[in-house]
Point group: C2
């Protein structure tokens, strides 16, 4: 799980917020927040003065004859993490939370954000800003209708509204005598001026062939073949998501935190390949790798990133049909393509193809998980020795596990901000420690680590929860029920093309049985050195059906407010299942290789099938990770691994079912008195 | 499960067809079908000559200046079963299958139907008609575009197209220079003339208070209170589904096969109650029960059924907002209400309220299930004696169980056409025997009975599958896995407001595990002397979330083409679950009280939890049905019940898990050699 979002792209933020339930705001009651009702208002030192920038923004609005201007929290590609130069909402409001929309009128300014961020917003915003606690377009439009006069215009940057969001605003404003006005020059950027951080400009590089599943030429041919087979015969595919272009060309960079992407679009037509990016970022080797000096159908023409809208508009003048993935294409592109020339699907063929890994990609992803397990095991061994000394805190722990990952071969940094949470902090939905604010790790508390790495061969994501002292019976029960959920879903056999939504309850049943549950989703896709939350694979209602070759995380949890949090997350490959009777069935093969915490497992709650599964999994861990630890002379870690993967045995006295019944019967037959 | 449809209303037919997968056509290869390619064409005797009626229809079309006319298979209320006078498609084409749309142009006539009906259509239609094997509006519109000239008009009866279906035609025709024309006078009816069967005219009667959960006045007040609380403040609710009006006023009749309804609409406003029906069908007692002679807000004004469209149109001229359930309101009503005066939800507040039974309604439904169990048990006991004699066939069996139900108190006929299927016939998706075509019951084959009754206090639906001889190991395994599915879902504990879709896989897991599955849905709501397939409760994606007080069937199955079919269906009440830790959790309480077939259960596949559940269920059956059998002096049936509800015991030798492990350990401890 990631800190702020539940998918690779912010179009999923709401889903995430919903799935977690409405998380209670962290108890920051004692914190220093603004008070705008006193005269003069009370403003804590954390507040940003926005008077000057708001005045300048209103001047721009006046020039454009706008009554209001919408400032979303997105970028032009619906990225999960956005670059500093795209943090327009944060800059104009002072409020830096990852979710929230601002709207400015000539007289007022307001922010809408969810409960996770209310306190933070009250600490960061000055009294120019109203805080609204409902989210979605409806409350924003309701407010707009009372704040701006009939006939008023509501401006927005069309590259910051998805098609769906635009439609939602448009529908809500219909018949209200206020109209939406698309303005391609961002007004906040005009005000921000030279203070605005520069757009990243690091080199864009090609992955070595050893780390790619297919050449870019093979991928281009594959997509073109899908275009030909499509009944609406699209003449081009437009790729708006950065991961699409990165995947298609096997190119990477580091424009986005945690995601190895670069700002780009691709227009792949039946006769040309047009890559929109900053040409100066390509080395001559990379340009030659892309055949960028020729003009045939297998040559990549590089055009400037800023030209994409005009180029699409010009292309759309011809007898063409442009295929787009509507979930993540922005209105700024959509509005320049005539409707009859659009071929729409929720996800582009690139997104759909990328979701199913070929055998080489599977092998690469698995290999990265073996090395990732080494880093996590090194950290767990280190914690076991150092936590009792009282010298480890959440933040230094997170730094250490990041460092261990960084020492692994092919490492390219963490795949998201490490969640290192001790005790009650692990029950917070989106917690990450900071250098200033963190908690000490202790043998008296549970500790949750949710972290992952980017490696040239794959992206990883794993969560383990541990206790070094004596956990309570309830903690053990909750942990074991979470573990059962993980096992029940991991070993489930289900028909091919079943949607994840239909089976995710298997990860919850053992918790439900006791009146427990968790408020977030059960898993998400993952990429080969791409997104750690890679759509459209997963267990939510808008995920696509499961197919052989997909990878997904499986991550049930349990959270006790103010006390502790448990999550057990593994990445699993969807594989064919061998069933007694022939049929097309699937199951999961777990590729995360770190044992669970024996100290937290109540074996009496496990069925023989659970134990059998667990012991087989432990045997696999030994086989995969053991030799790697030995090869690297990590002998202490090897010993630890052997200890923690010892087969678990049934505990007869605790079982209340078959076991006791039959022992009793057996003894009875033998004439024993019981 | 019902024969033709999967819900109370045909808007669900497609769902049903999808859920079952595309059922193979019954093997009727040897049957006598038409051959239009010979000269003269070969026509079997079963064919209907439609030349005269088609000519007359085309004259009507010419009068209206139509290039094409659509003849759907629905009625004006989206009823699951339709009256004979509504069987327009069957009359004009000769093809009597329950699903299929006809379209007539000036030159051609065509029918679109699914694979279940292809052979039947070829036996019943003459060569005036083309048969098209794809279903949905898209293939129809594709055909229309080639068959009718640009500028052509496509006529339809707006009372026979749902809002969704109209939108789908409208969207597909957009930009094609062909337009849809709504014609309120049905052109087929004009041609049908005096031959058309009369509209039912039996008395409409009020249910005795003993059989109603609330008075109609209480229900009216409840709906008005929901109108007041609604944020869009509707001034009226329009009820289009016949079950809505029947439920609201506690009125019943017998216009529709298997459903105790009468043709009607209700417009319930904040100050009036307008019931559209045939006034002559109300006795003076019923009129006085409805306060129909006064004009206050709690008086029911009865207006003629045929006036509904004009009355709604007139009402919509005022400052009003009309709340409708869009899933089952027809375009003929929808088109006369200005969009800004519509308040739309998928289901009306009546549909939503009706879905949750109050405690009296729960008690009534349960009581009907006890008597229903008596009828089914009488039949099973009779079969056990008579099947070995070789004198029972599927049709006479169905007649007998219908007769036994008819002898129960408060009986009002079957709730759907009894599915009585022996051997391979039970594997057919929509099989019911006829007097002419049926199969003998035998001790060598499995027999599936899916049937239900209408009683004044409740509607029932139960499926049992039996074998009187020696079932094969595979039959026992499949039966037991279906039973495990039924148990696993029935005993599931899940959070309040979980959607059925999220949990229905628990009914499939035991089958999936072995590579088996079933192609239909897992359950549907059921009414109090209303629909046997009552929406919107159930396990499909368009069902609403589960809530305490709802009733649903639970009915996994397994079907082996050409060999046998298994389905085990019970009706269950959604009740609060007691969990170890406090929370809002639900589970099911099964209210069908007929034991499963011991002869088909492989106990070795059952876990201790399954056995415990089953034995507790059997104990409940004894407690509920036993006294009723004794009271009625049905002593043979009582004895049968006792035998068939004997507690089942674990069979140690077959268990491969805890059991054997522990017995072995125990014996080992005792020094036995094993």
């Amino acid at each position: 799980m990631a800190r702020a979002h539940w998918g690779c792209c912010p179009w999923l933020v709401l889903l995430c917020a919903c799935a977690w339930g409405h998380p209670k705001p962290a108890d920051l009651g004692g914190q220093d927040v603004r008070n705008c009702s006193t005269n003069p208002p009370y403003l804590p030192v954390t507040v940003v003065n926005t008077t000057v920038s708001l005045t300048a923004l209103r001047q721009q609005m006046q020039t454009q004859n706008l009554s209001a201007y919408i400032i979303p929290d997105t970028d032009a590609h619906m990225n999960e993490y956005i670059g500093q130069h795209d943090e327009r909402r944060a800059w104009i409001t002072g409020f830096t939370g990852s979710a929230g929309t601002a709207v400015v009128t000539m007289k007022k300014a307001a922010v809408w954000t969810d409960s996770r961020y209310w306190t933070q917003a009250e600490r960061q915003m000055d009294c120019n800003w109203e805080l609204h606690k409902e989210v979605g377009t409806t409350p924003i439009v309701t407010w707009l209708l009372t704040e701006i006069p009939a006939g008023g215009c509501v401006g927005f940057d069309p590259f910051l509204l998805s098609i769906d969001t635009w439609e939602s605003y448009n529908l809500a404003l219909q018949g209200s005598n206020r109209q939406l006005v698309s303005i391609t020059t961002n007004l906040v950027d005009l005000v921000w001026g030279s203070e605005r951080p520069p757009v990243p400009n690091q080199p864009i590089y090609a992955l070595q062939e050893a780390f790619t599943g297919s050449t870019w030429q093979e991928k281009v041919s594959g997509v073109r073949s899908q275009m030909q087979k499509h009944q609406k015969a699209p003449t081009a595919v437009l790729l708006s998501a950065l991961e699409e272009t990165a995947w298609l060309f096997n190119l990477r960079a580091s424009d986005i935190p945690y995601n190895p992407f670069f700002y780009s679009y691709t227009l792949l037509t039946d006769s040309s390949i047009r890559l929109f990016a900053n040409k100066s970022r390509f080395s001559s080797e990379t340009l030659s790798y892309l055949n960028s000096s020729c003009t045939g159908p297998m040559c990549v023409q590089i055009e400037d990133y800023s030209q994409v809208r005009d180029s699409i508009q010009a292309y759309a003048l011809g007898d063409v049909r442009i295929w787009i993935g509507t979930s993540y294409t922005m209105y700024g592109i959509y509005e320049v393509i005539p409707k009859e020339k659009l071929v729409t699907d929720t996800y582009s063929p690139v997104m759909m193809t990328k979701a199913v890994k070929n055998s080489k990609e599977q092998a690469l992803l698995k290999a990265s998980h073996v090395r990732d397990a080494v880093a996590v095991i090194r950290y767990l061994v280190w914690l076991e020795k150092n936590v009792p000394k009282g010298t480890v805190d959440e933040f230094s722990g997170a730094e250490l596990v990041d460092k261990f990952r960084g020492e692994e071969q092919f490492s390219s940094g963490p795949s998201f901000e490490t969640i290192s949470a001790s005790g009650l902090n692990a029950a917070l939905a989106h917690y990450s420690p900071t250098k200033e604010l963190n908690r000490k790790l202790s043998s008296d508390e549970m500790y949750l680590l949710d972290s992952g790495g980017q490696y040239w061969d794959g992206t990883t994501d794993i969560t383990r929860t541990v206790h070094w002292g004596t956990p309570s019976a309830f903690q053990k029960e909750a942990y074991t029920r979470v573990l059962i959920g993980n096992i029940d879903l991991s070993r489930l056999i289900f028909p091919a093309a079943t949607s994840g939504r239909m089976v995710e309850a298997f990860a919850r049943r053992a918790l439900w049985d006791a009146g427990l549950n968790y408020g977030h989703g059960t898993g998400h896709g993952i990429g080969n050195f791409l997104c750690v939350h890679e759509w459209p694979v997963g267990f939510q209602s808008n995920n696509i059906a499961m197919a052989k070759g997909m990878f997904t995380s499986i991550e049930p949890g349990y959270y006790k407010d103010g006390e502790f949090g448990i999550r057990l997350e593994d990445v699993a490959l969807v594989v064919e299942a061998k069933t007694k009777y022939p049929g097309s069935y699937l199951t999961f093969e777990v590729v995360s290789f770190v044992p669970y915490d024996r100290n937290l497992i109540d074996v009496s709650l496990l069925s023989p099938e659970h134990l059998q599964y667990l012991n087989r999994y432990y045997q696999t861990i030994r086989e995969k990770v053991g030799p790697e630890l030995q090869r690297r002379q990590l002998l202490e870690e090897f010993k630890w691994l052997q200890q923690h993967t010892e087969p678990l045995a049934a505990r007869a006295p605790d079982t209340a079912s078959w076991a006791s019944v039959l022992v009793v019967s057996t003894l009875a037959i033998l004439g024993w008195s019981v």
